[in-house]
């Protein structure tokens, strides 16, 4: 909730209601501690001024449901499962219930789901990534439903998030891959236009290439949708046509295990002929054979912290504070050194 952008201000409400700003603030954050008459005056001023109610006004106006909505791009392949499980467990400790909606990575479905959860009375929402139509953020502010962004962290954005820097995480992995002698690089990515995490991961590879003096035009890019079969198809295209890469970055582990499977089916040795790295470190990464080298994401910690921040906000009105979590490369068996170059 970027309160700075809201007009009129708290001061305007205080003046109109003939109370102090502290009283308005108390009304918003601790309505139970304010006399009925004062609350009514402040409510009226808020309504008359068209002051967009934020979470506090909502808390004053409506009974809390102790329900938090989580809107994730997919339930498939358990990409978000571990984080959500930690999120739900932490919510339960505080008497909150989680309801989940999934969007199939489609912005128009996300919008429907956000509206559904708001109209079903969710106290607050957990969202994945920053990128969505500004209208949605305005809708949430107008409805007084706070939303916390996770799975992303971008120091340049004012909107708070509890997540990690996708670009830096992939840059670190790409730097290590390049240090092992790889020059012919490829990237199997999700649609980077509607997915800020996928976009950031691509930028991270490019950052590392530029630092190493490589030409960005030499990165072969395949954009597809997240899926095991999609990763397999992309791998096949990369190794059977054009200049064959020695290392393939996959934008997530799901694409990577699909790529790995197809390499095995084609008799392409991993990492002997081609190295494959993933992103996320979900359980698939360890089930894959050979076990997948990937970027570890602290799913459980992210889920727990997001839950605490949302509970705290709903209960006390304390605004979110952004938290950047660390990620790191996990070296298993699919990344090798280039020796014959």
């Amino acid at each position: 909730m970027n309160i700075k952008r809201l007009t009129p201000t708290l001061q305007d409400v205080a003046t109109a209601a003939n109370v102090s700003t502290a009283t308005v603030s108390r009304c918003l954050n601790f309505p139970d501690k304010v006399a009925e008459r004062t609350r009514t005056k402040v409510s009226t001023a808020i309504r008359d001024l068209g002051y967009t109610p934020n979470f506090g006004a909502r808390a004053m106006a409506a009974r809390r449901t102790h329900t938090i909505g989580a809107i994730i791009p997919t339930m498939d392949n358990a990409i978000f499962a571990r984080g959500l499980e930690a999120f739900q467990n932490e919510l339960r400790l505080h008497g909150f219930t989680m309801l989940v909606a999934s969007t199939s990575y489609r912005p128009e479905i996300e919008e429907e789901q956000i509206r559904a959860l708001v109209s079903r009375g969710a106290d607050a929402l957990l969202l994945i990534g920053h990128a969505r139509h500004p209208e949605i953020y305005r809708f949430l502010e107008a409805q007084g439903v706070p939303a916390l962004v996770t799975w992303a962290f971008d120091a340049d954005l004012a909107r708070p998030s509890i997540g990690f820097d996708n670009r830096a995480a992939m840059r670190d992995m790409a730097t290590r891959v390049i240090e092992l002698g790889h020059r012919r690089l490829a990237h199997i990515s999700a649609d980077t236009k509607h997915n800020d995490r996928a976009e950031a991961r691509l930028l991270g590879i490019q950052d590392a290439m530029l630092s190493a003096g490589l030409n960005l035009d030499d990165l072969r890019l395949v954009e597809t949708t997240y899926g095991i079969e999609e990763g397999a198809v992309a791998l096949e295209a990369l190794v059977t046509t054009g200049p064959s890469p020695t290392a393939i970055f996959c934008a997530n582990d799901v694409l990577a295990v699909g790529a790995l499977r197809r390499a095995r089916e084609l008799g392409v040795s991993v990492p002997g002929e081609v190295s494959i790295v993933g992103f996320d470190d979900i359980e698939l990464a360890q089930i894959a054979y050979p076990a997948l080298t990937t970027v570890h994401v602290p799913h459980r910690e992210m889920g727990r912290r997001a839950a605490r921040a949302l509970v705290n906000l709903v209960k006390t009105g304390a605004p979110f504070e952004s938290v950047e979590l660390e990620t790191w490369p996990v070296f298993r068996d699919t990344l090798g050194r280039v020796s014959d170059d």
Copy 2:
């Protein structure tokens, strides 16, 4: 909704409201087509008699939200993901939204989630398996929220479901395993006390053993929770202590891929020394190495049909019809023949 168990009857309501039973039925199923005055009379009779409102009464009393709740045991490992995705896609075609809650396989959490979804206005619920406290079914009837059971089919139960016969499915697989010469059998199962699907799968193995003249006491049973690491631990216990099995049935693919991984780590050849079979045929089964022999479950069809049945019920009041879907064994690379017996 087992309407037979409800008292008073539709006839009692008709008599009290001085209308025909057809009119009461029309009020319940197509409230929009009944005059306001008639609707009021019938409503009053329903209330005065304490006629437990079923879905129809609810449709008459409250605006539909076009939200269907799905309550699943876990989001982990995508066990339910493919079925839910098909369920959601089909719901969307009819203008309905899905909200999901997960229970961590714990009955007390399921009860919380059911209450949360009902109080958030879900028109109907999708539930997994039949086994839950009768009080929950009574609560749903009293609230007028219909619930459809999936992932299970039991011809002996009056409650409708759209699913498959877990017992027969595992019996078929066990019969094939025994035909390949396996006599020293083991089963890695979930807790069979609170999970009717797990219980049915165990019974299916026992059915096949009895048909083949085997002694049920010779089945080594490990009960654990569904998880990759749990499957790995169970496999290790089975191959390092006691009489070593030649075939291990896993109650789902998640346990099976964990067992497979630990076998590889211990240098136990699959299927050379021990065969491993799963259940569900989720994507993990194909990612595993060797690819997993398992029982195929028609996740997508189950999800689509469940969605159509629920939409139909909410829109027209048409009661559910039970549907039994087929399953079949999928033979990949983890089941071998016993030759040295």
